[in-house]
Amino acid sequence: MTQTVTTSQDITSRPAAATRPPFWRQFGDRKSWLAVLLLVSPALILFVTFVLWPLFNAFLFSFYKWNGYGPLQDFVGLENYAKVVDHRAFPLALRNTVIIAVASLLLQLPLALWVALALYQKAWFVSIFRTIFFLPYMLGEVAAGLIWKFVYDGNYGLLPTIGDALHTEMPFVLADRAWVIPAIIIVIVWKYFGFHMMIYIAGLQSIPSEVVEAARLDGVSKWKIMWFIKIPMLRSSIIISVFFAIVGSLQLFDIILPLTGGGPGNASHTLVSFLYYFGILRMKIGFGGAMSVILFILCVGVTIIYRRLLFTKAEA
């Protein structure tokens, strides 16, 4: 989970630019320009070479049929996009991504909020629980995937033993089309629930204590305080957490690969594992480019909606 976001308004803020003199009078001496050049160019070069240029290329490649070697000359228009959408595994990958996103929202976030409400105040045992819940988040995705591959293993794992204890035969969940997605959702809750909890705890801790105290003195019940004071004041935390859950689902890959590799069949592919198996591994650059662009549009769409939501709050 390396997606990074912010809620501050740096992109749009231009502090008092209008009141300043024109640029050639603002420290426009040669020395400043040299300093700017020295300070900014490493970042700019890296950013252009490894972020913007590949992104531009993804768009470019998506209109060509290309195997990665030789000149780019076989222009095919939108054919690659049609191929992605028509691919047998694409509807599954899209469906799984949506299911995982929705399940994270409906399961993980309420759970995280519920626990955060219990654990946001200070006490010695509270920080122990917080650390335990945050532990899986700090674990590498591959390690988490392998640990759960063991848990689910139908021959040697924990699940068949639990089944034995209950006198029922457990399915081989990772080989079962009906069970594989629920199984992955459980791993995701295990891995990321603590992260969402931390976001809510940070939000809850910034609620002014006077507000809650005043309500309490007025005899407002605990449930009402939770529903009508705390949760509404967590609006931005909730938006952030929803955003992370959705973008996290859009880019889910590191857990899928060790756990199922997209299987059984194509039953557990996500958008990124689809891109990896059918675009990158087979060196179908145009196809992969089209998939990248689709992923990019989805991510940017989600990010823009997220910013809108946060800014309306900020301006209100």
């Binding site: 992109i11 970042a43 626990v115 700090m138 063991f150 650059i285």
Partner: protein
């Protein structure tokens, strides 16, 4: 981050946790810890014992799996590769992002806002979207199988978020300090090095820890860029190890335990910075 910490106020005097919440907390604690616990113990068992007794202590503490792994050099090579990549990523991310963020927040020059917006584009999408053309770029540069093939893109994709954290920190530095230095005809580079950096230790640590954690756990990028086993960081190494030993779970679990342990110790120590880095924006918003 010390600044935001001070803002946090504690609501109520004692935590009020209902029995139902206690139940949830206990259940989740078990849910989270049991996989860790069985992984740690599993390395000491035989496959046969694992099947009948995955939860209990091993009948005899068989350390041969750990000896096998620690006796060979692959495990240490994987860990060293990860460490090397992570450290270089941290150093480059911190230096490059801090320099640019300083220029963008304290030097007024034409195009500054456009440049800032350009960098902030990086916040819009994860690197998975650009991984395929990135592979072509790296291949054409001829640095596949080289650690730089992972380090440079990681630094580039860290820039947006790191610069954002740096910028909001730098903007709150006392402006008088910098203007006074300017009056003394002190150049921007000297200001950056002698005034800004020493004052920015908390944010440098936050960005550094953040870059370290993401690099340490990164999987997709090395998976695409590195084919040579000698260059593998641990996530690729452990996948290969698992592929080699398949259902010899005790070995795989022992390997998992050994890779997880040092990382967890470090992450627990640095937890504060990880949380402040990831929720930094949230707290401010």
């Amino acid at each position: 981050m010390a600044r935001t910490k001070r803002k946090l106020t504690i609501v109520g005097s004692k935590p009020e946790i209902s029995p139902f919440q206690w139940g949830t907390i206990i259940f989740i604690t078990l849910f989270i810890l049991v996989p860790f616990y069985s992984t740690a113990l599993g390395g000491f068992k035989s496959n046969g014992e694992l099947r009948v007794n995955p939860f209990g202590f091993p009948a005899s503490w068989d350390t041969s799996n750990f000896e096998l792994i620690l006796g060979g050099d692959t495990f240490f090579r994987f860990m060293w590769n990860s460490l090397f990549i992570a450290l270089l990523t941290v150093v480059l991310t911190v230096i490059v992002a801090a320099m640019a963020a300083f220029a963008l927040s304290h030097i007024r020059f034409y195009g500054r806002n456009y440049l800032t917006s350009l960098f902030m584009l990086g916040l819009l999408f994860p690197f998975a979207t650009a991984i395929l053309p990135l592979f072509i770029t790296i291949r054409d540069m001829g640095i596949l199988d080289n650690p730089t093939a992972v380090i440079l893109p990681q630094v580039a994709f860290n820039l947006a978020f790191s610069m954002l954290l740096f910028r909001s920190f730098f903007q709150e530095l006392p402006i008088e300090l910098i203007e006074a230095a300017r009056m003394d005809r002190c150049g921007y580079l000297r200001i950056f090095w002698y005034i800004v950096l020493p004052l920015s230790l908390p944010i440098l640590t936050t960005v550094g820890v953040f870059a370290f954690v993401t690099s340490w756990n990164n999987f997709l990028l090395p998976l695409i860029m590195l084919n040579d086993e000698k260059a593998f960081p641990w996530p690729l190494g452990i996948m290969q190890f698992q592929g080699q030993y398949n259902t010899d779970w005790p070995k795989v679990l022992a390997f998992l335990t050994l890779t997880i342990l040092p990382a967890l110790v470090f992450f627990l120590a640095a937890q504060r910075y990880i949380i402040s880095g990831l929720t930094g924006g949230a707290v401010k918003g």
